[in-house]
Amino acid sequence: MAKLLEKPEEIRVRANASGVPLSLSRDGTREKITAIYEQWKVTDQWWGKEIERHYFRVKTSRGFVLDIYHDIGTSNWYLSRIHD
């Protein structure tokens, strides 16, 4: 089961030079990223408001499996889905 957030929540992420996320913090808590299960890219709506996102499915040190993404346009990171 996974919970898709209605509105993606902005989070703070520390990433390495290649853009791979190393740790993230949400609700004030910092979690390390212990594994990256999948990554994928989405490019859409280029004819209007362009969306370009790099998604990662990660496991954190707190034991959560999360889908997060890097919004290339704004350079911010967001949480989009929480897996059980």
């Binding site: 999948e38 990554q39 994928w40 890219k41 490019t43 859409d44 280029w46 004819w47 998604y55 499915r57």
Partner: protein, 1037 residues
């Protein structure tokens, strides 16, 4: 780690790939790739242009395809060698021919039979193995892999892709694991669909066009991201770095592959000759026999020429080719099918004596070097014009004679150009349909490349242009320019081969049932060195034959148009008057403007006329000196005395390609082959350096011939200025003959001529309603369509032209057939009789009434329509009663305007009246004149005239000038719009069908033009006059 892309789609993966093959090659070159594969869906459509541009760029071309298997799985195949290439063609052919058009599917059984010489990659995500793995069916995936291993051995590779889709990482690991378990090598590809990342936008648009949807509504159909571009080594390294061997293997596979696409050694089939003869001996024997028939006495000139050509043909190994074409023409002659060879072939005396062409090269002083010569690198091209109505029959003959395996039609690609790009790209972007429609109709340029400049000039679209979506729209339209959109059959090209065609080029189904087409267009076929015969339908040939038959039927006279004298003064008088609507090749607006100046009076003159009035010579500034000399305004001079015999027929001006060759031979001592190379090189705008080299060779040869350097230089420049646009004289001569014949028919048998002209539409320059106007002006009475007299096509009745049912809407073939069947039992006596017996639809009957078809029953149209309504309510099968008294209502008749409007609505033309005749009263104030009145005025007079726009032309050479032809009840009127005027009234000029023009009358050399200052839509003028002046009495029927 060097990388080679082995899975790449060009725009020949129709409505899927978003780059031209040449662009993919260019990008590969930038990336430093040593080789590139193109793997379009189920076809090798772009193989030849890809091959050529890759070779030019020093990149090894790998020929392949992505095939669709029976359950819809994909598989990537690459050809290693010529055997593999043949097998690839065979496999694609089977997949295409064994299934419905547009739905090719390959069976694995077929794969097993034709696997030799092929490298097989397991495919993208839609490959069988990845699909099974993604579905958790590992055992089945293994079985599939083992099956491929068995078919391809160690030429089978597991294909790995990482397009950064969710699940790709997982799939990657599973594929690697499976490959390791079975000992199969892996190779990385990127499923490329565009050369550069930005191409993803156009790719999205193509997917939407293919699925007939818009960008906003298609998120589930489009690709998720923009990763499908040609990636660099570094980018692939990032994705596949942990397994470097998968990248190495791309290079290894590339090294294995070596295929050539030069098939010039595959000759045409051997022609079956009588026992004891060879193709050469048979051809020679035929020629000498026929020469006696053609010429009677064989003069020395004929003999020398014939001997020379036969020897040349023998040396070039072309006897078989000539016999094939001769056989085809014999079939046409024996079956009464009008046909003639066109183009440069008419330069050949062999072609003439064999009856392939109708132009005597001796009489017309032609030059065979233009057609064949010793140095030729490509095969000669023989094109045959055949009566359009019989073309199919001739094609069937070729299939039947040489076998279906050895013959195929050449394909052609319908491409995106300005109009359809606007409509389709705009629709995908969600732009409003009516705006797109206006833009598409208003755009002037043909090519989509100039769209921004073109539309920017138009006021009505200005307000959209600042938006961001406009930018996208414009740049996408430009990008999609020249993209192939779908496949169609080329008008006439047929490929004939000695070996089964499907070994050289894949075949597929055409839209026409039973028809098979090869996947290459005519350029690819030519570049690959294959033999092609073009069998083109020429409607004029059908027209001539139809007219002759009509004359026989209506007058009992048998006319053999090949025997009419070619010097009838009256016919030339008509031509010189520019009374040439419907006459082959000399009916265009440009022609009509020049005929009174050039005044052709012989077939030779007509040949020149056909050749010179084309955009080319008009730009090269050659027509004017010829016309000036013709009119005696300029002295006829020759740069050198030795040029006189070559150029005297064209008054010292170089007009024909054959003359270029002869001049090069006479002045610089070139051989015919060298001269033809010179001509071709000049006509292709070679680089400066190449031109310099040619010039030097020419001058050296001239000096050796005792010609001064100055003269030689001047002549070379003349040749160069001309060469781009010169016309082939033999081609023009063939056409001149047809021009004369059609003019002769128009003069002596106008009713039959116009009837044949109408029945063979669409053809020529003018539409049916304009043709009818011309017929009327020539004294031919037009009878409206009649329920009892008419046929589907137009006919001649007592010297009058009876319109056919074909123009009436809702009267299709089936309806006409039913009507005729019913009529053959007994003629129709009333509307009711017709209604009950014919059982045609209400719309059809209504349209027939409005077209005047039932005027023969003596009742006005309104009454008939009313009666029809009653009949419909009563129904066909109720008890038939006479129309009761109380239902008969006196109705006002239709006014002339209403009648003509109704006629136009239901059949697109009127038998009796021109629309201008009917509207005339409502615009006749304020000095609006008829065309006949205008042309009788003094030059310089200010005039106002009105008419229906039947022609709009903006020739590139005219520097922004636009030409309109207006038609009214009295004839045609020429209007010239100077660039500034055109800019100002552009929308009216482009889109309005009826206009009023104000301007100054200009008269030169017997031609009248109105130089416009203002254009007004006619409806506006009517409103204006109606508001300003009291209404005139209207006529009531």
């Amino acid at each position: 780690m060097p990388y080679v892309e082995l899975h790449c789609h060009s725009n020949f993966s129709l409505l899927d790939g978003a780059s031209h093959p040449e662009d993919l090659v260019a990008r590969a070159e930038e990336l430093g790739m040593s080789a590139l594969a193109i793997t379009d869906h189920d076809g090798l459509y772009g193989a030849v242009p890809f091959y050529r541009s890759a070779k030019k760029a020093g990149i090894k071309p790998i020929i392949g395809a992505e095939v669709t298997l029976e359950r819809g799985h994909h598989l990537t195949l690459l050809a290693r060698d010529s055997r593999g290439y043949s097998n690839l063609c065979r496999l694609i052919t089977r997949a295409q021919l064994e299934h419905r058009k547009g739905n090719p599917l390959l069976s694995e059984a077929a794969l097993a039979l034709h696997s030799e010489g092929l490298v097989c990659l397991s495919g993208c995500r839609r490959g069988k193995i990845p699909t099974l793995l993604a579905g958790g069916k590992r055992d089945e995936a293994i079985a599939a892999a083992k099956n491929y291993l068995e078919i391809f051995g160690d030429s089978f590779f597991i294909e790995l892709q990482n397009s950064l889709y969710p699940g790709d990482g997982c799939l990657y690991r599973e594929l690697i694991e499976l490959a390791q378990a079975l000992g199969i090598r892996c190779v990385a590809t990127n499923n490329v669909h565009y050369a550069r990342k930005e191409g993803h936008q156009l790719q999205d648009v193509l997917v939407c066009i293919k699925n007939r949807t818009t960008l906003d509504r298609s998120s589930n159909l489009r690709r998720l991201n923009a990763e499908f571009y040609l990636k660099s080594e570094a980018e692939m390294q990032e994705l596949f770095g942990q397994h470097p061997e998968v990248l190495e293997n791309t290079v290894r596979i590339a090294e294995m592959c070596d295929v050539s696409l030069d098939f010039s050694s595959y000759r045409f089939p051997d022609f079956p000759v009588p026992g004891g003869e060879t193709a050469d001996s048979y051809l020679a024997r035929l020629c000498w026999q026929r020469a006696r028939q053609r010429y009677g006495e064989i003069s020395t000139e004929v003999e020398d020429q014939l001997r020379y050509e036969l020897e040349l043909i023998r040396k070039l190994g072309l006897s078989g080719y000539f016999l094939i074409v001769w056989d085809l023409m014999e079939y046409c002659h024996k079956n009464g099918i009008p046909a003639q060879g066109r183009g440069s072939a008419a330069n050949s005396i062999v072609a003439y004596v064999l009856g392939i062409t109708r132009v005597d090269p001796i009489r017309h002083k032609l030059f065979v070097g233009r057609f064949i010569n010793e140095e030729m690198s490509a095969l000669p091209d023989i094109d045959i014009d055949v009566s359009t109505n019989h073309r199919e029959q001739v094609i069937q003959y070729v299939y039947q004679k040489y076998g279906e395996e050895h013959v195929a039609m050449v394909c052609t690609f319908v491409t995106f150009q300005a109009r359809n790009a606007i409509r389709e790209v705009g629709k995908v972007l969600g732009m409003p349909a009516h705006i797109l429609d206006q833009m598409a109709r208003a755009v002037g340029s043909y090519s989509a490349e100039d769209i921004d400049k073109d539309l920017a000039g138009l006021e009505q679209f200005r307000r959209y242009m600042s938006s961001q979506s406009w930018q996208h729209f414009i740049s996408l339209c430009k990008e999609i320019a020249d993209f192939p959109r779908h496949l169609s059959i080329h008008v006439g090209g047929m490929v004939i081969l000695s070996c089964p065609l499907s070994e050289i080029v894949p075949l597929e189904r055409a839209a026409m049932p039973g028809r098979v087409v090869c996947q290459w267009d005519k350029d690819s076929v030519e570049d690959a060195g294959l033999v092609k015969v073009d069998i083109l339908g020429l409607r004029m040939l059908s027209l001539i034959r139809d007219a002759a038959e009509l004359i026989k039927k209506s007058l009992g006279i048998h006319i053999d148009l090949d025997k009419i004298p070619l010097n009838d003064e009256k016919v030339y008088d008509m031509i010189c008057r520019a009374d040439t609507m419907g006459v082959f090749q000399v009916e265009s607006r440009a022609q009509m403007q020049t005929l009174p100046q050039t005044r052709p009076r012989s077939i030779e003159d007509l040949t020149i006329e056909v050749a010179i009035i084309r955009p080319g010579p008009l730009q090269g500034n050659m027509v004017h000196p010829y016309i000036r000399r013709r009119q005696g305004k300029e002295k006829v001079t020759y740069l050198l005395p030795r040029l006189k015999p070559i150029l005297e027929e064209t008054l010292g001006v170089i007009l024909f390609q054959e003359q270029v060759l002869k001049v090069a031979v006479a002045v610089a001592g070139f051989t015919p082959g060298e001269a033809d190379s010179l001509r071709r090189a000049m006509s292709r705008k070679r680089s400066r350096r190449a031109m310099e080299e040619l010039r030097e060779r020419f001058i050296r040869g001239a000096l050796r011939n005792g010609v001064s350097e100055r003269a030689a230089s001047e002549i070379f420049e003349k040749l160069r200025g001309f060469a781009e646009y010169g016309f082939c004289k033999s081609h023009a001569a063939g056409f001149a003959l047809l021009a004369y014949q059609s003019a002769w028919l128009k003069y002596y048998y106008p009713a039959e001529f116009y009837c044949a002209l109408l029945n063979n539409q669409p053809m020529g320059f003018y539409t049916p309603e304009v043709i009818i106007g011309d017929a009327r002006r020539h004294g031919v009475e037009i009878l409206p369509v009649d329920i009892n007299q008419s046929d589907e096509l137009c006919t001649v009745e007592d010297g009058k032209l009876r319109l056919g049912f074909r123009y009436v809407k809702e009267m299709g073939e089936a309806a006409v057939a039913r009507l005729k069947r019913t009529r053959s039992q007994a003629p129709f006596t009333s509307l009711r009789d017709f209604y009950l017996r014919s059982e045609l639809s209400r719309e059809a009957i209504e349209n027939l009434i409005l077209a005047g078809a039932m005027d023969c029953f003596g009742k006005p149209k309104r009454e008939l329509l009313w009666e029809l309504g009653i009949l419909e309510r009563q129904g066909r099968h109720s008890m038939m009663l006479d129309l009761p008294e109380e239902y008969q209502v006196p109705l006002p008749g239709m006014t002339e305007l209403e009648e003509v409007a109704a006629e136009y609505k239901v059949q697109g033309l009127s038998a009796r009246l021109h629309p201008m005749q009917v509207i005339r009263n409502s615009i006749s104030r304020d000095g609006v004149m008829k065309s006949s009145e205008v042309v009788s005025l003094f030059p310089g007079t200010r005039v106002r005239a009105a008419g229906y726009v039947i022609c709009r032309q903006a020739p590139r050479t005219a520097k922004g000038h636009v030409f309109l032809t207006l038609e009214d009840e009295d004839g045609l009127l020429n209007v010239v719009l100077k660039p500034a005027v055109y800019q100002k009234y552009r929308y009216v000029a482009r889109v309005e069908p009826l206009i009023v023009v104000e301007g100054v009358l200009q008269k030169k050399e017997g031609i009248a033009n109105v130089v416009a200052e203002r254009l007004i839509p006619l409806k506006k003028e009517r409103e204006r006059q109606a508001a300003m002046y009291p209404p005139r009495a209207r006529s009531f029927a």
